[in-house]
Subunit: 139 residues, 2 copies
Amino acid sequence: MERNTRQRTAIRQAIAEAARPLLPQEILQAAEVAVPGLSLATVYRNLRTLVEEGELLTVTLPGEVARYEIAGAGHHHHFQCESCQRVFEVHACPGNLAGLAPQGFVVERHELTLYGRCADCSDPKRPASARKPARAHGH
Amino acid sequence: MERNTRQRTAIRQAIAEAARPLLPQEILQAAEVAVPGLSLATVYRNLRTLVEEGELLTVTLPGEVARYEIAGAGHHHHFQCESCQRVFEVHACPGNLAGLAPQGFVVERHELTLYGRCADCSDPKRPASARKPARAHGH
DNA sequence: GTGGATGCAAACTCTTTGCACCTTG
DNA sequence: CAAGGTGCAAAGAGTTTGCATCCAC
Protein backbone atom coordinates (compact mmCIF):
# COMPACT_ATOMS: atom_id res chain seq x y z
CA MET A 1 0.00 0.00 0.00
CA GLU A 2 1.00 3.57 -0.79
CA ARG A 3 1.92 6.00 1.95
CA ASN A 4 2.07 9.74 1.90
CA THR A 5 5.34 10.77 3.48
CA ARG A 6 6.62 14.30 3.75
CA GLN A 7 9.30 13.33 1.26
CA ARG A 8 6.90 12.06 -1.37
CA THR A 9 4.67 15.09 -0.99
CA ALA A 10 7.61 17.45 -1.42
CA ILE A 11 8.85 15.59 -4.50
CA ARG A 12 5.41 15.59 -6.11
CA GLN A 13 4.98 19.26 -5.43
CA ALA A 14 8.41 20.21 -6.74
CA ILE A 15 7.60 18.62 -10.08
CA ALA A 16 4.11 20.06 -10.23
CA GLU A 17 5.37 23.58 -9.63
CA ALA A 18 8.13 23.44 -12.21
CA ALA A 19 5.79 23.08 -15.21
CA ARG A 20 8.64 21.57 -17.20
CA PRO A 21 10.55 18.27 -17.04
CA LEU A 22 13.08 18.24 -14.19
CA LEU A 23 16.28 16.35 -13.54
CA PRO A 24 16.50 14.23 -10.36
CA GLN A 25 19.07 16.71 -9.05
CA GLU A 26 16.73 19.64 -9.68
CA ILE A 27 13.93 17.79 -7.93
CA LEU A 28 16.18 17.17 -4.95
CA GLN A 29 17.15 20.83 -4.79
CA ALA A 30 13.55 21.99 -4.96
CA ALA A 31 12.21 19.40 -2.52
CA GLU A 32 14.89 19.63 0.15
CA VAL A 33 13.76 23.15 0.90
CA ALA A 34 10.62 21.57 2.39
CA VAL A 35 12.37 18.46 3.68
CA PRO A 36 15.92 19.16 4.86
CA GLY A 37 18.14 16.08 4.72
CA LEU A 38 16.20 14.58 1.83
CA SER A 39 18.43 12.08 0.06
CA LEU A 40 18.91 11.59 -3.65
CA ALA A 41 18.21 7.88 -3.21
CA THR A 42 14.76 8.73 -1.91
CA VAL A 43 14.14 11.00 -4.87
CA TYR A 44 15.03 8.17 -7.25
CA ARG A 45 12.91 5.67 -5.35
CA ASN A 46 9.89 7.96 -5.40
CA LEU A 47 10.34 8.86 -9.04
CA ARG A 48 10.27 5.20 -9.90
CA THR A 49 7.19 4.57 -7.79
CA LEU A 50 5.34 7.58 -9.20
CA VAL A 51 6.18 6.58 -12.76
CA GLU A 52 4.92 3.05 -12.11
CA GLU A 53 1.69 4.45 -10.71
CA GLY A 54 1.30 6.56 -13.82
CA GLU A 55 1.49 9.84 -11.98
CA LEU A 56 4.73 10.88 -13.64
CA LEU A 57 6.30 10.39 -17.06
CA THR A 58 9.96 9.82 -17.82
CA VAL A 59 11.30 12.22 -20.44
CA THR A 60 14.44 10.94 -22.10
CA LEU A 61 15.97 13.24 -24.66
CA PRO A 62 18.84 12.11 -26.89
CA GLY A 63 22.10 12.13 -24.98
CA GLU A 64 20.47 13.47 -21.84
CA VAL A 65 19.76 11.80 -18.54
CA ALA A 66 16.10 11.17 -17.70
CA ARG A 67 13.85 14.02 -16.65
CA TYR A 68 10.42 13.73 -15.04
CA GLU A 69 7.13 15.50 -15.67
CA ILE A 70 3.51 15.24 -14.56
CA ALA A 71 1.57 12.69 -16.60
CA GLY A 72 -1.74 13.33 -18.27
CA ALA A 73 -0.83 15.98 -20.82
CA GLY A 74 -1.45 13.59 -23.71
CA HIS A 75 0.80 12.98 -26.69
CA HIS A 76 3.37 15.71 -26.97
CA HIS A 77 7.04 16.36 -27.75
CA HIS A 78 9.84 18.40 -26.27
CA PHE A 79 11.97 21.39 -27.04
CA GLN A 80 15.41 21.86 -25.57
CA CYS A 81 16.97 25.29 -25.46
CA GLU A 82 20.59 25.13 -26.59
CA SER A 83 21.36 28.19 -24.53
CA CYS A 84 19.91 27.44 -21.08
CA GLN A 85 19.52 23.65 -21.60
CA ARG A 86 16.02 23.70 -20.16
CA VAL A 87 13.39 21.40 -21.62
CA PHE A 88 9.84 22.50 -22.49
CA GLU A 89 6.76 20.66 -23.65
CA VAL A 90 5.55 21.11 -27.22
CA HIS A 91 1.88 20.34 -27.70
CA ALA A 92 2.06 19.83 -31.41
CA CYS A 93 2.98 16.90 -33.60
CA PRO A 94 3.78 16.55 -37.30
CA GLY A 95 1.79 13.29 -37.32
CA ASN A 96 1.63 10.74 -40.09
CA LEU A 97 5.20 9.49 -39.76
CA ALA A 98 4.48 5.84 -40.56
CA GLY A 99 5.48 6.33 -44.19
CA LEU A 100 9.02 7.46 -43.43
CA ALA A 101 10.40 4.03 -42.53
CA PRO A 102 11.80 1.66 -45.17
CA GLN A 103 9.80 -1.16 -46.76
CA GLY A 104 8.81 -3.86 -44.30
CA PHE A 105 9.32 -1.69 -41.21
CA VAL A 106 6.31 -1.16 -38.96
CA VAL A 107 6.18 2.18 -37.15
CA GLU A 108 4.33 2.04 -33.84
CA ARG A 109 5.33 5.29 -32.15
CA HIS A 110 7.81 8.14 -32.41
CA GLU A 111 9.79 10.64 -30.39
CA LEU A 112 10.54 14.13 -31.64
CA THR A 113 12.85 16.66 -30.03
CA LEU A 114 13.21 20.22 -31.25
CA TYR A 115 16.33 22.26 -30.50
CA GLY A 116 16.90 25.96 -30.64
CA ARG A 117 16.32 28.98 -28.43
CA CYS A 118 13.51 29.26 -25.93
CA ALA A 119 11.46 32.45 -25.71
CA ASP A 120 13.64 33.82 -22.90
CA CYS A 121 16.94 33.09 -24.61
CA SER A 122 15.91 34.37 -28.03
CA ASP A 123 14.73 37.66 -26.55
CA PRO A 124 17.53 40.22 -26.98
CA LYS A 125 16.34 42.09 -23.90
CA ARG A 126 17.04 39.11 -21.68
CA PRO A 127 20.42 37.62 -22.53
CA ALA A 128 21.01 33.96 -21.72
CA SER A 129 23.83 34.78 -19.34
CA ALA A 130 21.35 36.49 -17.01
CA ARG A 131 19.46 33.26 -16.36
CA LYS A 132 20.38 30.19 -14.40
CA PRO A 133 20.87 27.11 -16.58
CA ALA A 134 18.98 23.98 -15.67
CA ARG A 135 22.17 22.00 -15.36
CA ALA A 136 25.62 23.18 -14.61
CA HIS A 137 28.05 20.28 -14.82
CA GLY A 138 30.82 20.52 -17.37
CA HIS A 139 32.56 17.20 -18.08
CA MET B 1 49.50 14.14 -35.89
CA GLU B 2 47.19 11.22 -36.61
CA ARG B 3 48.54 7.71 -36.70
CA ASN B 4 47.11 4.63 -38.29
CA THR B 5 47.37 1.90 -35.74
CA ARG B 6 46.03 -1.61 -36.14
CA GLN B 7 43.47 -0.76 -33.47
CA ARG B 8 42.16 2.33 -35.20
CA THR B 9 41.95 0.54 -38.51
CA ALA B 10 40.00 -2.33 -36.97
CA ILE B 11 37.60 0.04 -35.22
CA ARG B 12 36.99 2.03 -38.39
CA GLN B 13 36.37 -1.12 -40.37
CA ALA B 14 34.01 -2.64 -37.80
CA ILE B 15 31.76 0.41 -38.00
CA ALA B 16 31.95 0.63 -41.78
CA GLU B 17 30.92 -3.00 -42.18
CA ALA B 18 27.98 -2.82 -39.81
CA ALA B 19 25.96 -0.38 -41.92
CA ARG B 20 24.03 0.65 -38.81
CA PRO B 21 24.90 2.56 -35.64
CA LEU B 22 26.88 0.41 -33.20
CA LEU B 23 27.40 0.47 -29.46
CA PRO B 24 30.97 0.74 -28.13
CA GLN B 25 30.62 -2.83 -26.86
CA GLU B 26 29.56 -4.06 -30.30
CA ILE B 27 32.48 -2.23 -31.88
CA LEU B 28 34.85 -3.86 -29.42
CA GLN B 29 33.44 -7.30 -30.16
CA ALA B 30 33.73 -6.80 -33.91
CA ALA B 31 37.19 -5.22 -33.82
CA GLU B 32 38.87 -7.56 -31.36
CA VAL B 33 38.55 -10.35 -33.91
CA ALA B 34 41.20 -8.51 -35.92
CA VAL B 35 43.08 -7.16 -32.89
CA PRO B 36 43.05 -9.60 -29.96
CA GLY B 37 43.52 -7.87 -26.61
CA LEU B 38 41.90 -4.65 -27.84
CA SER B 39 40.68 -2.71 -24.85
CA LEU B 40 37.40 -0.90 -24.42
CA ALA B 41 39.30 2.24 -23.38
CA THR B 42 41.00 2.28 -26.77
CA VAL B 43 37.65 1.92 -28.49
CA TYR B 44 36.31 4.92 -26.57
CA ARG B 45 39.44 6.98 -27.25
CA ASN B 46 39.29 6.28 -30.96
CA LEU B 47 35.58 6.92 -31.17
CA ARG B 48 36.13 10.32 -29.65
CA THR B 49 39.00 11.10 -32.00
CA LEU B 50 37.08 9.94 -35.06
CA VAL B 51 34.03 11.98 -34.08
CA GLU B 52 36.20 15.06 -33.59
CA GLU B 53 37.73 14.55 -37.00
CA GLY B 54 34.25 14.32 -38.50
CA GLU B 55 34.70 10.75 -39.69
CA LEU B 56 32.02 9.36 -37.34
CA LEU B 57 28.75 10.63 -35.94
CA THR B 58 27.41 10.03 -32.47
CA VAL B 59 23.86 8.68 -32.50
CA THR B 60 22.08 9.27 -29.21
CA LEU B 61 18.56 7.93 -29.03
CA PRO B 62 16.29 8.76 -26.10
CA GLY B 63 17.22 6.71 -23.07
CA GLU B 64 19.93 4.84 -24.94
CA VAL B 65 23.68 5.02 -24.63
CA ALA B 66 25.56 6.54 -27.57
CA ARG B 67 26.02 4.62 -30.79
CA TYR B 68 28.39 5.47 -33.62
CA GLU B 69 27.94 5.54 -37.38
CA ILE B 70 29.93 6.64 -40.43
CA ALA B 71 29.47 10.34 -41.16
CA GLY B 72 28.51 11.76 -44.51
CA ALA B 73 25.07 10.29 -45.05
CA GLY B 74 23.45 13.71 -44.76
CA HIS B 75 20.42 14.63 -42.68
CA HIS B 76 18.57 11.53 -41.56
CA HIS B 77 16.77 9.98 -38.62
CA HIS B 78 16.69 6.63 -36.89
CA PHE B 79 14.40 3.71 -36.32
CA GLN B 80 14.76 1.43 -33.34
CA CYS B 81 13.23 -2.04 -33.42
CA GLU B 82 11.42 -2.75 -30.16
CA SER B 83 11.99 -6.43 -30.67
CA CYS B 84 15.72 -6.76 -31.42
CA GLN B 85 16.71 -3.26 -30.18
CA ARG B 86 18.82 -2.63 -33.25
CA VAL B 87 18.96 0.86 -34.72
CA PHE B 88 18.62 1.63 -38.44
CA GLU B 89 18.97 4.79 -40.47
CA VAL B 90 15.86 6.38 -41.99
CA HIS B 91 16.60 8.59 -44.97
CA ALA B 92 13.39 10.52 -44.82
CA CYS B 93 12.26 13.54 -42.85
CA PRO B 94 8.88 15.14 -42.22
CA GLY B 95 10.53 18.55 -42.61
CA ASN B 96 9.03 21.92 -41.81
CA LEU B 97 8.92 21.50 -38.04
CA ALA B 98 9.70 25.09 -37.16
CA GLY B 99 6.03 25.90 -36.70
CA LEU B 100 5.48 23.36 -33.94
CA ALA B 101 7.21 25.29 -31.19
CA PRO B 102 5.39 27.89 -29.06
CA GLN B 103 5.47 31.63 -29.73
CA GLY B 104 8.90 33.13 -29.33
CA PHE B 105 10.75 29.82 -29.59
CA VAL B 106 13.29 29.50 -32.41
CA VAL B 107 13.72 26.01 -33.84
CA GLU B 108 17.19 25.37 -35.25
CA ARG B 109 17.26 21.60 -35.65
CA HIS B 110 15.41 18.47 -34.65
CA GLU B 111 15.83 14.80 -33.83
CA LEU B 112 13.26 12.19 -34.72
CA THR B 113 13.22 8.57 -33.66
CA LEU B 114 10.74 6.03 -34.94
CA TYR B 115 9.94 2.88 -32.98
CA GLY B 116 8.34 -0.33 -34.09
CA ARG B 117 9.38 -3.56 -35.77
CA CYS B 118 12.20 -3.84 -38.26
CA ALA B 119 11.73 -5.79 -41.48
CA ASP B 120 13.24 -8.91 -39.93
CA CYS B 121 11.18 -8.80 -36.76
CA SER B 122 7.87 -8.02 -38.44
CA ASP B 123 8.29 -10.94 -40.84
CA PRO B 124 6.30 -13.88 -39.46
CA LYS B 125 8.69 -16.35 -41.14
CA ARG B 126 11.60 -15.07 -39.07
CA PRO B 127 10.56 -14.70 -35.43
CA ALA B 128 12.51 -12.28 -33.26
CA SER B 129 13.66 -15.05 -30.94
CA ALA B 130 15.74 -16.51 -33.76
CA ARG B 131 17.93 -13.42 -34.02
CA LYS B 132 20.61 -12.08 -31.76
CA PRO B 133 19.63 -8.81 -30.08
CA ALA B 134 22.04 -5.90 -30.36
CA ARG B 135 22.22 -5.56 -26.59
CA ALA B 136 21.55 -8.13 -23.97
CA HIS B 137 21.75 -6.54 -20.55
CA GLY B 138 18.69 -6.72 -18.34
CA HIS B 139 18.77 -4.41 -15.34
C1' DG C 1 64.09 8.40 -31.40
C1' DT C 2 59.94 10.64 -29.95
C1' DG C 3 55.33 11.77 -29.46
C1' DG C 4 51.05 9.76 -30.15
C1' DA C 5 48.58 5.32 -28.98
C1' DT C 6 47.68 1.39 -26.06
C1' DG C 7 46.38 -1.59 -21.95
C1' DC C 8 45.40 -1.73 -17.41
C1' DA C 9 43.33 -0.23 -13.42
C1' DA C 10 41.55 3.41 -10.88
C1' DA C 11 38.42 7.31 -10.94
C1' DC C 12 34.00 9.46 -12.09
C1' DT C 13 28.99 10.14 -12.92
C1' DC C 14 24.50 8.59 -12.56
C1' DT C 15 21.47 5.26 -10.61
C1' DT C 16 20.26 1.29 -7.74
C1' DT C 17 20.41 -1.51 -3.61
C1' DG C 18 21.38 -3.61 1.24
C1' DC C 19 20.51 -2.64 5.73
C1' DA C 20 19.25 -0.68 10.07
C1' DC C 21 16.16 2.67 11.75
C1' DC C 22 11.99 5.37 11.51
C1' DT C 23 7.03 6.56 10.45
C1' DT C 24 2.53 6.21 8.54
C1' DG C 25 -1.95 4.24 8.70
C1' DC D 1 2.61 -2.49 15.55
C1' DA D 2 3.57 -4.06 10.95
C1' DA D 3 4.64 -2.79 6.31
C1' DG D 4 6.43 0.53 3.74
C1' DG D 5 9.69 4.48 3.55
C1' DT D 6 14.09 6.78 4.59
C1' DG D 7 19.17 7.84 4.95
C1' DC D 8 23.54 6.27 4.38
C1' DA D 9 27.01 3.98 2.19
C1' DA D 10 28.35 0.58 -0.92
C1' DA D 11 27.63 -1.52 -5.36
C1' DG D 12 26.77 -1.35 -10.46
C1' DA D 13 26.85 0.21 -15.33
C1' DG D 14 28.97 3.09 -18.65
C1' DT D 15 32.72 6.16 -19.69
C1' DT D 16 37.06 8.67 -18.85
C1' DT D 17 41.75 9.19 -17.31
C1' DG D 18 46.69 8.56 -15.18
C1' DC D 19 50.61 6.18 -16.10
C1' DA D 20 54.07 3.15 -17.77
C1' DT D 21 54.98 0.83 -21.96
C1' DC D 22 54.78 0.39 -26.90
C1' DC D 23 55.14 1.39 -31.74
C1' DA D 24 54.29 4.28 -36.12
C1' DC D 25 56.41 7.56 -38.54
